[in-house]
Structures are given as C-alpha cells and as structure tokens.
Symmetry: C2
Subunit: 419 residues, 2 copies
C-alpha cells in the first residue's frame, strides 16, 4: 500500500490552528485550565465530536465523558486500531500536552477519508476526559473506565469545592451507575497508539523530531526523615553535632551520584523541610522526598534498595535516626515490542533516525495496557518544557509526528503469533 | 583576704528557689515568656529590686528599665565592679538563661553584707531589661543604653501588635527622651563580670561545672540562592539536569567539612527552601542560610571567603547561578585577658579545672565592652540545652558558679598598667 504524504507546512499549520482553537476553551481568560466534568470539558468535547464527524467518523461521548470517533474499515465491525490522548489539562497548562495526540489522530483519519481509503481494520480515535487527575486527585479516570478498571470508590472523591465525582458526573448529565458501560472488550481492539509531546529534552538533544517510546517508567516515591538533635549554631562544636540537614545533604549527593552512574535511572529529591528552621539553630529534623524511576521495575526496585542502604549507612555514621516510608509504588508499563518495531520502521520510512526512549511521565497507556497492547510516539517539544504556558512544538515537528502516525496506521500489521 | 565559702547544697537551693520564683512571672500560665516593657518586666524588676535591697544594696530602675543595685565599698563613691545579666526571656524559655547571673550576683553581695564586709571598690549588680530582643527584634537594648550606644532609631521599631518602642516605654512610665540618662561613664566601672549558663555542651563533655569565657564569638550570616532549571522528575536525564537542590546539598556537605577541619570554626545551615517544591519536579531554585562563627574575626572572615569560593565553584561546575548575600556581620568581643586570668585563678582556688571556651551565643557583654572590660563565667547546663523549658542546671553547679563568682569578687584586683 502506498504511503500518503502528510508532511509539510500545511499539515503543521492545520494542527497548530486546532491546538489554538481547543486551547481557547479554558476556565480562565488568561492561561489554559480545563478540568474534568467542567463546562470547558463539555465545550471541548463538542468541538472534538464536530472534528471527528467532519473527518468521516461516527462520534459519541461515553459514560465517563470520553469522546470516541470510529472510522469503519473496508468491512464493518472489524476490531479497531485505537488512537488518541487526553483533552483535560493541568492548571495554567501548555496547549500541546494531550490535544496534540487527539488532533493529529483526527487529521490522519481525515486524510484517509479524503482519499476514500478504507483499511482492513477500523480506526477509533479517543479523547480521554481525565488523564491529569487535577480535579479529583485521581489520575487516568477516563482510560480506566475504557479499560474496565475504574474503581467505584473514586466516586466518593471530592474536588476542592467539596463536589464529589458522583455529583459532578450527574451534573454533567452522566449516570454514575453506568460507568461500567464505558468498558470495552479486548477483542474490540488491535492495539492502542498514542502520539504525545515528550515533556523532556532528549529528542531536542538528539536533534530528531520524533521518537519511539520503550515503556512508561514505573516510579517509587519515598518520604524520608532523619532525626538528629537541634542545638545552638554558636555553641555546639562541630564534632558533637547531630545535624539532620547535613545528613540529608550527604544523602542527596549520594542519590544523585547513584543515578548518574546508573544509566536509565532517574532520581529526584524535589521537596525538603527542616525543623526548627532558623538560621541560628542546628537542624534537629529534616524530611525529604525521593522520586525514583526506570523503564524496568527490577532496575528501579534494586536502585531503591541501594538508595535506602545508603541513607541508613549515612544516618548510622552520623548518629541520626532514619524513618523511610514508601509512599507510592507504580509499576512500569512496557510498550509492546511489535508496536515499537512498526513505529520505528515508520519513523525510518519518513526519513528520520528512530530514537528509542522511555517515558518518565505517566500516560493513559498505563490504563489502556490492561485492555490491549500499547505503543507511543513522542514529538519533540522546545526545551523539554511542559505543564507550563511555554510548552511549544514547531509546525514542522507537529507535521513530522502526523506523517509518522499516518504511516504507522497505513502500514499497520495486527499482532501475529510471530510478532 | 580570706575567701568566703558559698559552696554546698544550701547555696544551690537558695539560688534555684529564686530562679523558680522569677520564672513564675510569665505572660503565659504554662511555659516562661517575659518580654521587654511588659507587665511581667515590671513585676520581675520589682522582685529583683526587693532582693537587691535585702542584700544591702541601694536599688533603682534606670531610664530603659534596667534594674541596678549598688553595694558601696569601704569608702563611698568608688568605681564599681559591675556584675549581672538579663531578665527578659525568649518565648517558651528556659528559666536559667539570664536570671542565674543576676540571682547569683545578688547572692554574692548578700553574703558580703551578711559578713559586714566592705571591699576597696563598690559592687553594682545589674539586671538588663532586653538582651534577647524578642519584642522589638533588636537585641541588647538594655546594655546599649547603659553603654551609651543606644540607637535612637530603635524607638520607631514596632512589636508584633504594632506598638512602637517609643509607645511601649511611655506606657511603662519611662520617658523615651531620657534614655541618654541611663548611660554611664567608663570611670564609673572597673570591669563587668557576667555569670551565665553555657548554652552548649562543652563543659558537660569536659566534666567541669564552670568555665572561663575567652570571647563572645562574632558571627556572619549569609543568604545563598542557587538558581538552576526546574523540570519533570521522570523525563530529564540526570546528565542534563541543573538541579538547584543537589547543588545546595553539595555546598552543605562542603561547608560542614570545612568547619570540621578547622578547629574553632562553627558553621550551620539552619534553613533551606526549594522551588517549586514538588516531589515529581526537579528543583529549579534553592535558598539556604549560613551562620559562621569563630572567636577570631580574622578567622571567621577568612572562612566565610573560603565558603563563598566553594559555593561558587560548585555552582559553576553544575551550571547553577549563585546569589550570595551577607545579611549580618557581627564582630567578636574579646573577654579581657586580665579578667580571664582572675577568673581562672578563682576557678582553680575553688578546686576545679579551669576550662577556657568561647561563647558562641551573644551576651550583654558585647554592648558593655564599649564601656568597660568584660569577663564571663560559664556554668554547665544539662545537655547543652537552652532556649527551651528543658534548660537545666544542677544545684551543685549553681553553687559552684556562686562560689567562683564570690571568689573573683573578693580577690578582685583592678586592672593595672601591667595587667
């Protein structure tokens, strides 16, 4: 089958125009904030439904508020290749994170439709309603409902105004009893492909517009406290101190070195709090967070153990008492190797060097993986900046992403026993 | 002249009883808080005046609210040996910090008076009204007034209720115009001797009840900010990060090592703040304080320069931008060698090993040194704990301090050209 061309200025401009149009649907006049089950959710969904129908799809909203369009294959009722991303945002968001994947998928279907091309399988495009989880502090509600893993206990969760998810669904015109009907069967799908901005600096550093994702990295988050002894900054000799912050500083340096020396490991200390917290008082207690990620669960778990060992050794040598809690343990979601192979081949066919990289950020694929195999295409974003109004993708890179996605779709081969 | 004995259980108990009596004058029912120009200031001053008069002194309050008692020498109107400490406290204070020096001095004069003993010089006992500086965020107001170095601009300072120092003085029945009359002439005094708890763990570690202070250490306080680049904890590879907190951690470890390797140097990082401060975000900015002290100004200033050099090197290597501000520079106040010698001799006569140590904490002597030579006697406190309800001195150590102070007074030799 011949590959349809979607590169070039026109495609990039068309995508960027829709990105701007969707970004204008925000709860605030300046800055982009679009939360789950809000008026903006409804307006954005309407716009996506319109674009899906213009692209030749039948389109509907499901029981959790996801938007789903379907482009039938050469024969009706075939299993579908599922494409998409999410259209909710963080507060004061960038406009590309999520929408790029939906808009690009719609553009690809529109191109097939323009050519009256039908494939041996159906194509569905989904806009997930809640990936960021800002409103109810519970992520992936849209994709979990699709995968049939929605946890009913989430219905009792409340937003910052005290509105429960159950109430918000009802207010939106949805029936909380019906969420189960959003669940799809594995036999409905051949695979899930998501195109998304990288949200990191790797592709930019590599000088390529797109990359193939190997896995969505699992993460372990720890809360660590070292307990020492507060004292007067002017009267306790250095050798007699049990300074909690100095101990933590040594831990932070050790964790950084461990992660630098171990390729594929990401370790971050993002918060720190010291008590009593006065310039003339030796810190008696210091609490900090550790976020550790890797594309391999075994690797990450081994590294977490090593980091805990380092902390315990440092604390012991300094007569500090450590308290180490694992606050969160999220497993790695691999991207299916057979999908990685097809994405890499498409990238190469479009003339780019296929760069493989893990996703350190979470995505709807983590939930969809319970339903069908997943693959992801990353598009370069400027400076690796995301979750910020400065988030930016060039027209050329948006077009490159679209051309690769369309190529993958047109050349798509369902999984076989051999693949 | 024979030395009067003040050792033993009785003296310790008498001192501790007065410590408790003074500690009962607090603005809060539980915990001890006694601020400058408060009702508790007035009540404590009244009690001190009573004790001074019972000890055979004439006693009065001066223009800033200090309490001063005078015990004439064998001939009237001789220059005086000035003894004392402060009777204001921090919030939720210990009961020994300050009062021990006043109560012990009164006890020594009472003992001289009991024996009808007159010395070749007068003895004055002073209770300074504001050493801690809690109420108006300006320390040593009482001793500065005595030394004639009170800064009139402090009158405009306001407490947390918005009351100015000027208003508080008037409300207390004092005239802000008259503060100058609290100033004394250098010819009024032979020396100033202050007995105070150590507020540190050195005497306890040395196993001695008292020590002689070499100097009140100067201090430099710095505010340091390292500016890096925030980023997603899961997407920015370790080698591409400009993590402000990791840089600060390396600085803290370096400063601690520098101070450990340099005897007499005290360095403390007591506060740290990180931005944005989320467990899944690489810190883009980190601010911390440094408090550096030494009994030698040259030593401290050299060490501060070296620490700044370390910070700049670490920041440069990590592509972080440092901003380093000196927020406070307080010079060292030496204790007069001739007074140190007389205190050491008295300690030895009372049967203790004379241990010399600097004071890392500030004291009224820093201001009084502008008026006359100063000397300090430190008394051991349990665990080095101070500014805390757990602050504690044993009856034996309180008595040991009193016996040493009385010995110094009785054997006191004014400064000569040779001393």
């Amino acid at each position: 089958m011949a590959t349809t061309s979607m590169t070039g200025q026109t495609t990039g401009e068309a995508i960027a125009q829709r990105i701007d149009q969707l970004a204008s649907i925000s709860e605030s006049a300046t800055g982009l904030t679009r939360l789950f089950l809000s008026a903006e959710h409804r307006n954005a969904a309407e716009l996506l439904l319109t674009w899906m129908r213009e692209a030749g799809m039948s389109a509907r909203t499901d029981a959790i508020g996801n938007v789903i369009g379907r482009y039938e294959g050469a024969k009706p009722d075939q299993p579908a290749l599922l494409l998409g991303s999410h259209f909710d945002t963080v507060r004061n968001a960038g406009k590309w994170d999520g929408p790029l994947g939906i808009i690009t998928a719609i553009a690809c279907v529109a191109e097939l439709n323009r050519q009256h091309k039908r494939l041996p399988f159906a194509v569905e495009v989904i806009g997930f309603a809640d990936e960021e989880g800002v409103r109810f502090a519970s992520t992936l509600l849209g994709s979990r409902a699709l995968a049939g893993t929605f946890d009913e206990s989430a219905l009792a969760g409340r937003d910052s105004d005290g509105v429960s998810l159950r109430e918000a669904l009802t207010g939106f015109g949805l029936d909380p009893q019906n969420i189960g009907t959003a669940a799809r069967a594995p036999s409905d799908y051949l695979a899930y492909l998501e195109l998304h901005i990288e949200q990191g600096p790797v592709l930019e550093a590599e000088g390529v517009p797109v990359g193939v994702v190997t896995a969505i990295s699992g993460a372990t988050r720890l809360a660590v406290t070292l307990e020492g002894m507060a004292g007067h900054a002017g009267t306790v000799p250095m050798a007699m101190r049990r300074d909690a912050l100095s101990g933590v500083a040594e831990c932070i340096v050790a964790i950084e070195k461990q992660c630098r020396d171990d390729p594929g490991l990401f370790g971050t200390v993002g918060t720190i709090r010291v008590e009593p917290g006065a310039s003339n008082v030796i810190p008696g207690r210091c609490t900090f967070s550790i976020d550790m990620r890797s594309a391999s669960d075994e690797h990450r778990q081994f590294a977490v153990k090593a980091a805990i060992g380092s902390i315990e050794r440092i604390a012991g040598r300094r007569r500090l008492v450590p308290r180490i809690e694992i606050k969160h343990e999220g497993r790695t979601t691999p991207c299916a190797p057979w999908l990685q192979a097809q994405i890499s081949a498409a990238i190469a066919r479009r003339g780019y060097r296929a760069t493989a990289l893990p996703s350190g950020a979470g995505h709807d694929g983590m939930a969809v993986a319970d339903l069908t195999d997943i693959g992801m295409i990353f598009v370069r974003c400027r400076g690796g900046v995301s979750h910020h109004p400065d988030e930016h993708v060039t027209l050329e890179d948006a077009a490159a992403g679209a051309s690769v996605l369309l190529d993958v779709i047109e050349q798509f081969q369902p999984k076989t026993a051999a693949s």
